[in-house]
């Protein structure tokens, strides 16, 4: 019985191709805009998230402006950060520019960064050859260095720089490793820089103050508590002068970006929903017209023994067919739009099963919601009145 109704409804939809096509246009537009927006939103969010993860999601960055009396963090402050619960490690950075000399060649204005062992253990893929800075180097303020790929090429062309000497700011350092070539993308290229133990760099750069610290968390889920603890420790270090430092939590930034993109998706999805709603009204209108047009047919079917329920089912199925066809076409349309947009933005297209179900489910629901009233109207027609309207 359901099968027969399915056939009849499908035939009716197909017999009015032009009208059916125009009716479903609203649904097509609604579904395709929702699918396109969701897909584009998901794809770009995915892109942003992976970019941030590359940057370090388990990291809290501290930038210190300092006060006139205390221009940065001192070693004891860093030790205090280390003691905060759930902190895996602290990586301070000191930086300055100076002249380096090696193999008789001189290079001015080279960025020298003081880092520690945590930096090398937490950031993988930093060292091309040799080793990174270890704890012993920090404790004994060893005069060792790692050089960037550009410097290695320029000053040690055709030779292995490891074990060689490099003069940094007039003092000789032993090269223990070379840095992997990094792209300029993140703006923190190390290709032209030299890294030395940060304890050593304090002497070299003539400062005891650290202005930039990365704190690594054991577990990113505790980031809020850790951020609070860090802020508390820093305000103690700067005598409650909160403007002396900023704490940037990658996790927070990520979630706030997620929030913004989610909100955007919702808003744009809302616009699509309005289109869907209008499309649904279109279907309802068309079905009501169809019921009126086919009054005699309904009467005849009733005279031949069709129960009201069957008539209702037949018309409801027609509405669902219409909106489902609209949903399927809209889905492909939306994916196509999303594909083109992603191509232009240079992101990869993310298509999830839930999006497919959303498109089909949404349109089926629209069909039922807007089809039920006309279908009930059809089923309630009195057979005589219906037959009389020939």
């Amino acid at each position: 019985m359901f099968k027969e109704n399915l056939k009849m409804s499908w035939m009716n939809v197909m017999n009015n191709k032009m009208r059916s096509a125009l009716t479903i246009l609203g649904i097509v537009i609604g579904v395709s805009s929702i699918i396109a927006l969701i897909t584009i939103g998901k794809s770009s969010m995915n892109e942003m998230t992976s970019e941030f993860e590359l940057f370090g999601a388990d990291k809290i960055s501290i930038q210190v402006l300092g006060t006139p009396l205390k221009q940065g963090l001192v070693e004891s402050d860093i030790e205090k950060l280390q003691e905060i619960e759930n902190v895996a490690g602290v990586s301070p950075t000191l930086s300055g520019n100076t002249t380096v000399v090696a193999s008789g060649a001189e290079k001015t204005n080279v960025l020298v960064q003081g880092k520690n062992d945590v930096y090398f253990s937490k950031s993988k893929d930093l060292v091309e050859a040799g080793r990174g800075i270890n704890q012993l180097d920090i404790e004994s303020e060893n005069k060792v260095s790692l050089i960037g790929s550009a410097i290695a090429k320029e000053m040690f062309f055709g030779q292995d720089p490891i074990g060689k000497e490099i003069i940094i700011g007039g003092v000789s350092y032993q090269i223990i490793g070379t840095l992997k070539e990094s792209n300029d993308f993140s703006g923190s290229s190390t290709n032209d820089s030299v890294i030395i133990p940060y304890t050593t760099s304090m002497g070299l750069l003539g400062t005891g103050y650290v202005s930039s610290v990365d704190v690594y968390m054991k577990n990113a889920t505790n980031s809020e508590k850790i951020t609070e603890d860090i802020e508390a420790a820093l305000s103690e270090a700067f005598y409650d002068k909160k403007e002396a430092f900023t704490v940037m939590n990658m996790q927070d930034m990520l979630s706030s970006i997620n929030k913004i993109t989610n909100m955007l998706s919702f808003m744009l999805g809302g616009i699509g929903s309005i289109a869907l709603f209008v499309g649904g009204i279109g279907i309802m209108n068309m079905m009501l017209v169809s019921v009126t047009e086919r009054t005699a047919e309904i009467g005849l079917r009733k005279a031949l023994g069709a129960e009201p329920k069957r008539i209702q089912q037949q018309f409801l199925l027609e509405a669902v067919f219409l909106s489902l066809i609209g949903g399927i076409l809209g889905f492909f349309g939306g994916v196509l739009v999303a594909y083109v947009v992603c191509l232009i933005m240079g992101t990869s297209l993310i298509l999830t099963a839930s999006t497919v179900f959303l498109a089909l489910g949404f349109s089926a629901v629209i069909g039922i919601v807007f089809g039920i009233a006309p279908a009930r109207k059809a089923s309630k027609l009195h057979p005589i009145d219906a037959l009389r309207s020939v």
Partner: protein
């Protein structure tokens, strides 16, 4: 009384139009026996269409008692009435009432669809019935590819396919020319000879004469034409 297929007693139908109540059928008593070919003859506005609607279970009487095949009709709900229409009554309408997008075969199949009969059996029964009305070579034609007489034959096949208790015809020749009308009436007579009970509504005395019993309806009241009893 035992072999009465259809029995009406004191059937009254009234419509309310504003404050005024219009009585269309007044205390109708009617018995139809198995194998009868009854013509209900009356001018337009006599209440004959209303009577047909009540006989056909398309409408319910305001008061009175209606029995069809030993079933009390006036107490049934919409769903039960649909089943009665499907099983007990075969309708033949003046304007044929075929669905234009369906083939002759599909049109004849339709009541069997509502009876819940499977496709194979439906096709077989419908084909059989179409050849009984002489349309075995037209089963795939759509109504617009058939003449008026052929269309009415399809409608008769559709009415007969469920093997109903009565065949209910409403001005079956009204849309046909005289010659074709005659052929259709011959078909009705043949069907009646094979044992089918027929109730036909008409305003045409000549057509009514093909029946073997005539009742007159005028102003909502029935009168038997004695000569035919």
């Amino acid at each position: 009384m035992q072999d009465n297929i259809l029995s009406m007693s004191s059937i009254t139908k009234a419509y309310r139009m504003g404050n005024e109540e219009q009585i269309v059928l007044k205390q109708i008593d009617l018995q139809v026996r198995k194998g009868d070919f009854l013509a209900v003859l009356g001018p337009s506005g006599s209440g004959k269409s209303t009577l047909m609607n009540i006989i056909g279970c398309l409408d319910s009487p305001s008061s009175g008692n209606y029995m069809l095949s030993n079933q009390q009709i006036n107490e049934l709900n919409e769903k039960e009435l649909a089943a009665i229409r499907n099983k007990e009554i075969g309708f033949v309408f003046q304007q044929f009432q075929l669905l234009p997008r369906l083939s002759a075969l599909q049109n004849v199949e339709l009541p069997l669809v509502y009876a819940g009969i499977n496709e194979k059996e439906r096709k077989q029964k419908a084909t059989e019935m179409l050849s009984r009305v002489g349309l075995e070579d037209k089963i795939q034609n759509r109504p617009n590819q058939l003449s008026g007489g052929q269309q009415q034959r399809v409608a008769i096949a559709r009415a007969m396919v469920t093997e109903p208790t009565i065949l209910l015809a409403d001005e079956p020749t009204g849309a046909l020319d005289q010659k074709t009308g005659q052929q259709i009436m011959e078909l009705f007579q043949q069907i009646n000879r094979e044992g089918k009970t027929i109730v036909m509504i008409t305003h045409d005395r000549e057509i009514a004469k093909t029946a073997n019993r005539i009742v007159h309806i005028l102003d909502g009241q029935l009168r038997e034409e004695a000569a035919y009893v």
